[in-house]
């Protein structure tokens, strides 16, 4: 599987269409798959998950918050239904009345066929965007349960072919998209020449460690120059490191906790090595969740540095007056990446930045924390068989954006951006997603001097 070829021509980055799909991994018996799925689902089991799984009242309201259900009307996309086998297993094996469920046969044993059927629901049709978590009258955080269920699915060898392939590449090569340290360095040097900006690479000591997403390195390399330009303008002591540059975390998205940890630890170790006071995360949604909110828990203690998304860093810099930007005479709308805004709590940062740019900002209808997910998160964009569904779901996004009649569409997540690019091509849509970071970097006031 690690020999899967990347499709670098496509608007979105994944592997080339496999001749034969392998959506099951390993040579396990059905019984072993079920046993492993349940054991690893239960491994991280604690009070929080138990409260959630015990509290569902089957009101079905979560369906109305899910882009997959709203776009298709298919009840199987009801968020809590996506957890049914795991809910069933919890009630039967772990819950306070598990003995009664088993005694009266109220919950059947989960089967391997059931888990295989649920692979589509847990991977192809859930971006872990957490919109359903906001509608639940019981306050159940369904997205966090889906992430836990994926832990079980990975151990059971039940991950969609492409997502497993890129996650494996990330573990083996350090990048899900084939970015080796050498390639990273080459591309940095290219950007340094192209944009005439000083880029710090592998400095021994630095206050700020900047990291990148492979999607940016491969597809939107200007982000590297923009980051450098801003950090230089701020007078920061900073560096990129070839031993800790990859911000994406496909271990997290595919459900492999060990791989998630290995990816996060590369950044954490690099930051500690250079004595960084801050790790600056790039325009990548899930990278923010992986390091900002899960990094310390992976590390097992508080991180010895701050973690900021680049939009938070820019907002702080502009709000404090350390960075100044020119007025941008455009109407702009902004797509909130789910993991940064709704799930991450940094919703205000891009709005502060846009205020400083003095654009004609037009909020998406139902934007901000309740924003529709673009449909590409959670690893979905890599899964080729999910394309048709992904395009269908994207129509909700198109309606939202078109309603603003804004000239420019911005976001602060390169994974969202590649999904927008791919869907734009599919629908021959007029909007091209642009980067908030690039807009700031292109309009720094120092340029005028």
């Amino acid at each position: 599987m690690s020999t899967s070829e990347f499709d670098l021509e496509s608007k979105r980055l994944s592997i080339k269409e496999p001749e034969i799909r392998y959506d099951t991994q390993g040579d396990l018996s059905d019984e072993e798959r079920v046993q492993k799925a349940m054991a690893h689902f239960a491994k991280n089991f604690g009070t929080t998950a138990a409260i959630y799984l015990d509290s569902c009242i089957h009101c079905g309201m979560c369906a109305d918050a899910c882009h997959y259900y709203v776009a298709t009307g298919d009840p199987k996309y009801t968020p809590i239904w996506k957890l049914e086998p795991f809910k069933q297993a919890y009630k039967r094996e772990v819950s306070p009345f598990a003995f009664l469920y088993r005694l009266f046969g109220l919950k059947k044993k989960v089967t391997a066929e059931q888990l295989q059927e649920w692979q589509h629901l847990l991977y192809d049709s859930c971006t872990v965007c957490g919109r359903c978590s906001l509608i639940c009258p019981m306050g159940i955080d369904i997205a966090s349960l889906v992430a836990m269920a994926r832990h079980g699915m990975f151990k059971a060898g039940l991950v969609p072919h492409e997502l497993h392939a890129v996650a494996e590449r990330a573990e083996v090569d350090g990048s899900p998209l084939g970015v080796t340290p050498q390639l990273f360095e080459e591309r940095l040097e290219w950007m340094e020449d192209e944009h005439e900006v000083d880029i710090n690479i592998d400095k021994e000591q630095a206050d700020v460690l900047a990291v990148m997403s492979s999607i940016e390195i491969q597809k939107y390399p200007a982000a590297m120059a923009a980051t450098a330009k801003i950090l230089n303008a701020m007078g920061e002591s900073w560096t990129f490191r070839t031993d800790g540059f990859e911000a994406t975390n496909f271990g997290m998205m595919s459900g492999n906790v060990e791989w998630q940890k290995n990816t996060s630890m590369r950044i954490i170790n690099a930051a500690i090595k250079v004595g960084a006071k801050m790790v600056l995360l790039p325009e990548c949604g899930h990278a923010y969740m992986a390091l900002r909110w899960m990094g310390a828990n992976i590390y097992g203690k508080p991180l010895p540095f701050k973690v900021l998304h680049v939009s938070e860093y820019l907002a702080d810099a502009l709000n404090s007056g350390k960075l100044k930007v020119r007025k941008v005479d455009k109407s702009v709308t902004f797509h909130d990446p789910c993991q940064i805004s709704r799930r991450g709590g940094a919703t205000r940062a891009p709005r502060d930045i846009l205020k400083h740019l003095a654009v004609d900002f037009r909020e998406l209808p139902g934007g901000g924390d309740y924003n529709w997910c673009c449909g590409g998160g959670g690893g979905v964009v890599t899964i080729l068989r999910a394309d048709e569904l992904r395009y269908k779901v994207f129509k909700l996004k198109m309606e939202q954006v078109e309603a603003t009649e804004a000239e420019t569409l911005l976001s602060s997540c390169s994974n969202c951006r590649q999904n927008f690019d791919d869907c734009q091509e599919h629908y021959d849509w007029k909007y091209t997603m642009e980067s908030l970071l690039d807009l700031v970097a292109d309009n720094l006031e120092e340029d005028e001097a």
Binding site: N44, F45, G46, T47, T48, A50, I51, Y52, D54, S55, C56, I57, H58, C59, G60, M61, A63, D64, A65, Y69, V70, G73, P75, K76, T78, I80, W81, E84, S95, P96, F97, L100, L106, S133, L134, I135, C136, P137, M138, G139, I140, D141, W293, M294, G295, A296, N297, Y299, P302, L303, K306, V307, R342, R343, G345, A346, T347, G366, D369, Y370
Partner: protein, 217 residues
Amino acid sequence: MDLLDFARGPAMQVAIYVFLTGSLWRLFGILLLQRKPDYSELRKTGKLRAALKVIWNRAFTAPEFRMATRYTRIVGYTLHFGLFVTVFLFVPHIVFFKGLIGIDWPGLPNNVIFFVGVITVGVGIAILIRRMTHPVLRLISNFDDYFSWFVTMLPVITGLIMPIRFGIRWETLLAIHILSVALLLIWLPFGKLAHVFLLIASRGTTGAIIERRGART
């Protein structure tokens, strides 16, 4: 011992015992599982305040979702309002509660209670029909959903037929009503009706976790 004595005596005692021990078993069975520390640098403090906020505000659907959920919300609020009024504002019930906990409060006239009871049953039927016909609800529903509906509606229905009687002795009707309440109490800790106390735990947990991120609760 006649049926009424049985209902008021051993049946209700057993029901209360099962209700209390079952509820505590379920609650502590969950709360005593492992808790993992969160080492991430918090953006906002005030976990308790956030927990209380979410316990309160999730009773109200966010404006973004109101249109899509209007049917569920209307029948949901009406059912809960109806149950509250018929259980706690019916004068004979208040007398019962005074005997149990020593305090009382003003009630509503019987005809108002009867009217609210009829509305409650009507809404209950609407909820059942929707559960059986709406594609989402039909898919996700199980025995618990239907049995919980049954044990919730039974005391309301047995209460409503008491003034009508249908030629049955009043004592017998009262005994049946009390037995239906006993059934409700016995089932409550085991199924979805436990949301009466689990909602505090689940909403509060989410409030505390999400608030530290400064994210939308």
